[in-house]
Amino acid sequence: MSADLHTLTGAYAAHALSDTERLAFERHLDACPACAQEVRELEATTARLGAAADSPPPPELWDRIRAEALVTRQLPPVVGRGERRRRAGRRGTAAGRRVPLLLAAAAALLVAVLSVTALNLGLLGRADRADRTADLVAAVLAAPDARRVAAQPGGTGQATVVVSRQRGRAVFVADGLPPAPADRTYELWVVNRSGPRPAGLVEVAGEGRVTRLLDGPVTGNEQVAMTVERQGGAARPTSEPVVVVDLKA
């Protein structure tokens, strides 16, 4: 460790090094705990300088960020990092070390279960759910593997399904769909080898335009069908489909 490298903590924390210098200094940091600690403190200091310049971003920025985040895959954690740190932090028997890990895993599982339960119980606000649906629609439409499959000819209106295997979801899009007959509603179905399952009711907006996220997961090997059903929908289709989209096509 040269004395010269040692003085670079400030320039490093303020990002005032060239790329070459930065990489060299990062190698030094791995081997020099004193510098690493000083960098930690100086970065916490520059963070304060940064926060002192605060100014609110324009409100619409969040929508763009959220839309992009939803189609961005998250990096997995570095496996074993937590365990290494636990080992460095505490000394204990092998069994003693294993217990906190199990507890952490159990806690993580509990959190996951609780979040899913909260979602299913509808504890999230209606607006949140509407937002979430809009986001999922955007995420499917923007997915890199999004596929647009047109309805088989002879159906009603112009219907397509956009499906993303990666997102595991599909969106039903129609144009020029006539309103459903009085006291009736359109219902979507996802049909696989074991038969049809309900995938949501369709509300027809002006000029017969529909963009509807299909309920539940879709793999891309199914057919999507739309039938006319009683108000409120049915558990099984009771009429011939007016639209059929074969996702395998």
Partner: protein, 217 residues
């Protein structure tokens, strides 16, 4: 329900400070530090699991700090928004890589924001070498701007006082590097001093700020 953050790294460290610690009384007041750092760490842990609500809350808490810092460095409003977007998508993408053993969540977030902002201005500058340093010197002293703006909040006041406590050379080096996004060589050019001097002033300037602000890390 508790979400564990990985505290407990206690690497024994000894090092020699180049200056004696100088900690004014107000810096010892815990209330003087921005609150909610533990909350940020919990939120990051949730974001790492893909929790969109937590991501929204994280954004609520730090968007102004990130956008403010990015704007300060980048200047151009449209580009500042782009960089802020990059920063948050990067936080979303890499949340699982945040290591509480290596600093606080706030520090990690602001370091990421500063890094991105600096990358943006440097690549823009590489693309347009014609903008010479003299031209940038005419934009005025970034410090004056900071001084103008740091009136409203206590935190700003505290940072301003801490900057005032630096020597002129320390302060200019810190402000040109951090808010100006300049390299130490550019700062040496701007201030007409050797770059070795800039490096040491950056270090002792930040150390003095650290002590003055009572920064925990």
């Amino acid at each position: 329900m508790t979400i564990g953050t990985e505290q407990g790294t206690s690497v024994a460290l000894t090092w020699t400070r180049r200056e004696p610690p100088h900690r004014p009384a107000q810096a010892q007041d815990p209330a003087a530090r921005p609150a909610g750092d533990d909350a940020l760490e919990r939120l990051l842990a949730l974001v790492a699991r893909g929790d969109e609500q937590a991501f929204a809350e994280l954004y609520q808490r730090v968007a102004a700090a990130v956008f403010g810092l990015v704007s300060k460095v980048v200047r151009n409003p449209a580009q500042s928004e782009e960089v802020t977007q990059e920063v948050f998508v990067e936080l979303w993408r890499t949340a699982a890589r945040f290591d509480p053993g290596r600093g606080t969540a706030r520090s990690w977030i602001m370091t990421c924001a500063h890094r991105r902002a600096v990358d943006r201005v440097r690549s823009a500058e590489r693309a347009a070498r014609r903008d010479d340093l003299a031209g940038r010197r005419d934009q005025g002293r970034p410090y004056d701007e900071v001084a103008e703006q740091v009136e409203t909040t206590l935190e700003r006041e505290r940072v301003r006082r801490s900057l005032d406590a630096l020597t002129d050379l320390q302060r200019e080096a810190v402000v040109l590097a951090y808010y100006g996004g300049h390299t130490h060589r550019e700062i040496a050019e701007l201030l007409g001093v050797p770059s070795g001097t800039v490096k040491t002033r950056l270090r002792d300037g930040l150390i003095r700020l650290r002590d003055h602000l009572g920064v925990d890390a």
